[in-house]
Amino acid sequence: MTTIEAPATREIPYVSAIAEAFGQLMREDPNVFIAGEDVALYGSVFGVTRGLLKEFGPQRVVDTPISESGIMGLGLGAAATGLRPVIDIMFMDFMAVCMDEVVNQIAKIKYMFGGTARIPLTIHTMAGAGTSMAAQHSQSLEAWFCHIPGLKVVMPSGPYEAKGLLVAAVRDDNPVMVVNTKTILGMKAHVPEQIYEIPLGKANVVRPGSNFTILATGRMVSESVKAAEMLVADGLDVEVIDPRTLQPFDTETVVQSVRKTHRALVAHEAVRFGGIGAEFAAQIQEEAFDYLDAPVGRVGAPFTPVPFSPVLEKEYMPNAEKIAAEVRRLLGKQA
């Protein structure tokens, strides 16, 4: 790399962090290619592949028909024969159209083949509500994939994580799903210019604290930091942890925190019932039972499809206020 190190303060939006990572990954490894709907000529409807076609050409930045199963299978066949594909599925909701490829093929082929296969495949997608796109363009379905042995799942909480986790995902020799949140694509933060990795499977303590732990994913990380600030007035010193990787989950870091703080809450944007927060909460109480002074709380979306109308969607969305309120409710329940 000949680029001059940018100042440590270089701030770029989440969307640019992704595009930058893609460019650098493709430069470092000729086997990396990206395929998806409108990723080439148009640079993706979210802008995450802008500029790539020009630099890498149509062989490596591949516009596809609207055929998610075909695209995902293309990624699998290419990965099994030596390439390192990135498959972009525009909205996470569309994962439902290619679940077989992801879950029954990509995740399991290595095991079913007795270990002989290697599937270095990255699935890249956008989750989350908040854009008035209604029930089929707003879901956060990461819990489905965390339940499937053979997959890894990451969920970046900001620009720094977006780049570092994407790099780690693509370099990993396993299928990794990168679940971005569309409403934070404009979020700006410091992102090193050179290529770097955030190790998979390691949680990050975003805000240290001593007497309450909030474990949050994706967009809920920044909301939890806001909630933590609000809760200072309640005499709480909240630790906020971002697992970064949901599968494999860094139980250790989280449990250590809870053993220190004695109280915990898990927050995500997905529907609360059956969300990944249930797994996290279950693990926390299993591993830190003796340390808990209150039940492990959970904040997630209510049990309804995502509504269109902005007034309803606002009510639907988990946010800092709801997290803070739930923390307060939990403390009322304290043993």
Partner: protein, 327 residues
């Protein structure tokens, strides 16, 4: 085919109503008054109108993300439509669906759909039901050139032909799936060629010519209604605006010249010229149709803007049907 003057005027009126509905909606979206994404139907009006004049309220259609035109043509209530686009409680879906899920089950409009390719399997279900219940209702399945590459189309087409279902597959080939030109998403020129692989007729139709649409759709629908099975109609058409919103020119994925060329065959203009030539529609009468449409649309917009947003409690309603006393 013999077309009565009444039908011709009906066709024209439906097209104008769609055009007016969409142009006003586009402006309101650009003005920030309508949230979310609008996929507008401008340029493709002849298809919806030419198909829908053949349908009864009890006939069903499945629609797409680009669904306003279909519902307007099927007789949808413009007030409820605009209220829905605005996310109001008075909308077709009480504000819960928006543009991509607009629907009217009483009119057999089984919903716009946010998932490309979702319509065909649903359409064959409705057609199966029509047959099962011994009705002679027909279901028309609208889908795009892009959608023709989804596996769901394949599965539904095969099942429709196998079971001889009363369904018509109406492919609106507007030349693009989002920003990808047809020749970059499939190696065939005519999607109608796929019909033979299922055992049904496949017919290419000029989708800018309302009368051509009328004629082809009439035959296919009659065939379905008579119990003779499905047909695949491919309507060659063009979307004048962008994939989302109203910007139609100066875009990266097509030349302005191409847009202008297609606009020369504007389906509304074409039908008006034709009706004028036949002495059925004077310029004044045509203008009156436009004015009436605009008045209706303005009324609908005013209704929407005056309508309340859903109450907060509405969020958790309508998820489940209350079934024998239990929600």
């Amino acid at each position: 085919m013999d077309i009565s003057n009444g039908v011709l005027l009906d066709l024209h009126r439906r097209m104008v109503r769609i055009r007016t509905f969409e142009e006003e909606a586009g402006k309101l979206m650009e003005a920030g008054k309508i949230p979310g994404a609008l996929h507008l139907y401008v340029g493709e009006e002849a298809v919806a109108a030419g198909v829908m004049v053949h349908l009864r309220d009890s006939d069903q259609i499945t629609s797409t993300h680009r669904g306003h035109g279909h519902l307007v043509a099927k007789g949808g209530d413009l007030r409820k439509m605009y209220a829905e686009l605005y996310g109001r409680a008075t909308g077709y879906c009480k504000g819960k669906g928006g543009s991509m899920h607009i629907s009217d089950l009483d009119l057999g409009m089984l919903g716009a759909n946010g998932i490309v390719g979702a319509g065909p399997p649903i359409a064959i279900g409705a057609a199966f039901s029509n047959k099962y219940r011994g009705t002679d209702n027909v279901t028309v399945c609208f889908f795009g050139d892009g959608a023709s590459n989804e596996g769901t189309f394949h599965e539904a087409a095969n099942m429709a032909a196998l079971y001889k279902l009363p369904v018509v597959f109406a492919c609106e080939n507007n030349g693009f799936g989002e920003f990808t030109r047809q020749e970059r998403h499939q190696a065939v020129h005519d999607i109608a060629d796929r019909a033979a692989g299922y055992g049904m007729p496949g017919i290419v139709v000029d989708g800018m010519d309302a009368l051509a649409v009328y004629e082809a759709a009439g035959e296919a629908i009659a065939r379905a209604r008579a119990g003779s099975g499905p047909t695949l109609l491919e309507f060659k058409t063009y979307r004048f605006f962008d994939h989302v919103g109203i910007r139609g020119m100066g875009v990266i994925y097509r030349e302005d010249a191409e847009v202008l060329q297609w606009r020369e065959r504007d389906p509304v203009g074409l039908v008006e010229t034709r009706l004028a030539e036949q002495g059925i529609l004077s310029p004044e009468a045509a203008a009156a149709v436009h004015e009436a449409a605009l008045a209706d649309v303005r009324d609908a917009i005013a209704f929407a803007e005056a309508s309340p947003f859903p109450e907060p409690g509405a969020l958790m309603e309508d998820i489940y049907t209350v079934s024998r006393g239990v929600a």
